[in-house]
Symmetry: C2
């Protein structure tokens, strides 16, 4: 498990843009589980961070100086390639223009951004929910889980929340989840899942791996889909083998599908996902909670809060430049 002193902050001259570049300053910095993988020695989807490197991370930022023909001062953008810093020089590749008429700037890092699109693509493209099915979601009040639960309800499914506190489960109830299970206080998660999913789990939206995964695998319905979206519960033993019970017999007997998900494989679905989520939000059918913490210097604290499941909703860092923006 990482600790606060794994990072240190450096001050430097604000960089200047070259031709076809612009300088942007962060309004909101995103705090995401995938960052755990980037500081691991194990192979991940992307190159790991070397000691001394800038931490990778996404942000919503404002263009403050531009030598790029397509961007001008005051433009708002969202990019995954900003880093844990206040200022960044960018070349305009692979970013999203933030349209505040669709949702507030910070939402482009949550329900209108990667977490929301992850929820939509994983549930629809891999899970393929059918009316009346039971969908169990771990980290149900997190950035991805909140959206996934509400999409599942919108599809006519029963949605079951798994979270780490009564406060989070209360929020999940408010979002429309039918039932909730507190995995930290449960004495027998296998039995509790059996009780709240009497016909078995048709879709398990797995944001966590670990004990929640294990109990879900013992309650699969015939033809179940298990979507491996995140493995945050393995944060503590990230570089060790994950030992425990395996469920190949259950996969065989239920003819279940266990599939790994990465949002970047679903670029074609982004426009539809964002449109669909914005539409739900406009109709008042999508609620969302964001956990703001102030100041770049608090990035390590915010990240550790997330790894310890102490955040309440999407975890963000708000910089001084976001002052006065709507929440």
């Amino acid at each position: 498990m990482p600790e606060p002193n794994n990072w240190h902050m450096e001050k430097a001259q604000i960089p200047r843009p070259d031709t076809n570049q612009f300088l942007a300053r962060a309004l909101y910095l995103s705090v995401d589980p995938y960052m755990r993988g980037r500081i691991s020695a194990k192979q991940g989807y992307a190159k790991g961070v070397e000691i001394g490197d800038l931490m990778p991370g996404g942000a919503v930022a404002e263009v403050i100086e531009s030598k790029h023909p397509n961007f001008r001062e005051g433009d708002l953008i969202e990019t995954i390639q900003f880093g844990w810093q206040d200022y960044s020089v960018l070349n305009g590749d692979g970013l999203t223009r933030v349209d505040v008429s669709i949702g507030p700037a910070h939402a482009w890092l949550s329900y209108l951004g990667m977490p929301g699109i992850t929820a939509w693509c994983a549930l629809n493209n891999i899970g393929q929910p059918k009316f009346g099915e039971t969908v169990l979601i771990s980290a149900a009040s997190g950035a991805v889980g909140q959206v996934a639960g509400q999409i599942a309800k919108n599809k006519g499914c029963r949605a079951i929340a798994v979270a780490s506190s009564e406060e989070k489960l209360k929020w999940c109830k408010n979002l429309g989840y039918d039932r909730g299970v507190n995995y930290r206080t449960s004495n027998d998660l296998v039995r509790e899942f059996a009780e709240v999913c009497p016909n078995g789990i048709d879709i398990y939206f797995d944001n966590t791996a670990g004990i929640i995964h294990d109990a879900a695998m013992q309650n699969l319905a015939l033809g179940a889909r298990v979507i491996i979206v995140g493995t945050i519960s393995l944060a503590e033993k990230f570089d060790e083998p994950d030992m425990g019970e395996r469920f190949l017999r259950q996969i065989l007997v239920s003819r279940a599908k266990v599939q790994g998900f990465l949002v970047f494989d679903h670029l074609d679905s982004y426009p539809e996902a964002r449109r669909s989520i914005a539409n739900l939000h406009n109709k008042g059918e999508l609620k969302f909670k964001t956990d703001f913490m102030d100041g770049l210097e608090n990035m390590p604290a915010a990240f550790l809060k997330l790894l310890h499941a102490q955040n309440m909703g999407k975890q963000l860092i708000r910089t001084e430049f976001a002052e006065g923006l709507p929440e």
Copy 2:
């Protein structure tokens, strides 16, 4: 692990058919890994066998007395519901008519029957092989593996055999497999798979679970498909949890799909599968080895031979009534 004295043979009067029934006598009895599941206390796809019950099993049989309008003496049929016995009264439901112009009678229990259809449906419907991909197959010289490997080659894939002896691997080479790995003599299966699959495993056709599965999961290519067809290596610890390393991070990082397969979910594909396999065989592009043992009394021995991976090809029991039939 079951032992010979788990079974005993009973003699009884040969039953007589009632209206809409017929009496058949077995020519060949099928010996299959799924039978291990049926004598387990754990939940399987089908109801387990109680102590004192008839062991379930398939056969190719000859109708010797009929009160059924659609069957007459001398008809040959294949059915999964015959049982470990010489004679059975059947009602004609869910069986296949054996056409010896397509292949010899016993082939309807192997490449023209459930094992062949399993290989075809699992590989094509779940694995969806593409030209040039690498397909790793465990129990590669078994009833399912022999057919799967040759279909993979026919699709333009590299086929890698995993088996328990040099003799089996030699046969796999003869079938067209590109490379072979002996899992019993290997010191480091993970490294060996990496050597024979330098671009990773695109499809792992898993007939075994266990150590072969574990090593395959550490060599997945991006977008890999892992088809869980059988778990025979768990035969010894069938009623205990299967403990060991889990591979959720690998599934996530490779965006792999791990899916359980049961042939009965693919009834719609049977005609195409059988036609396609018969066609390969007729063109001389499908070789197949069958391991015959004589006499009903040897069913337990044949089954244990299979569980201990000592069979060479599809394991069958040939009864006295099959005398003189072509092999």
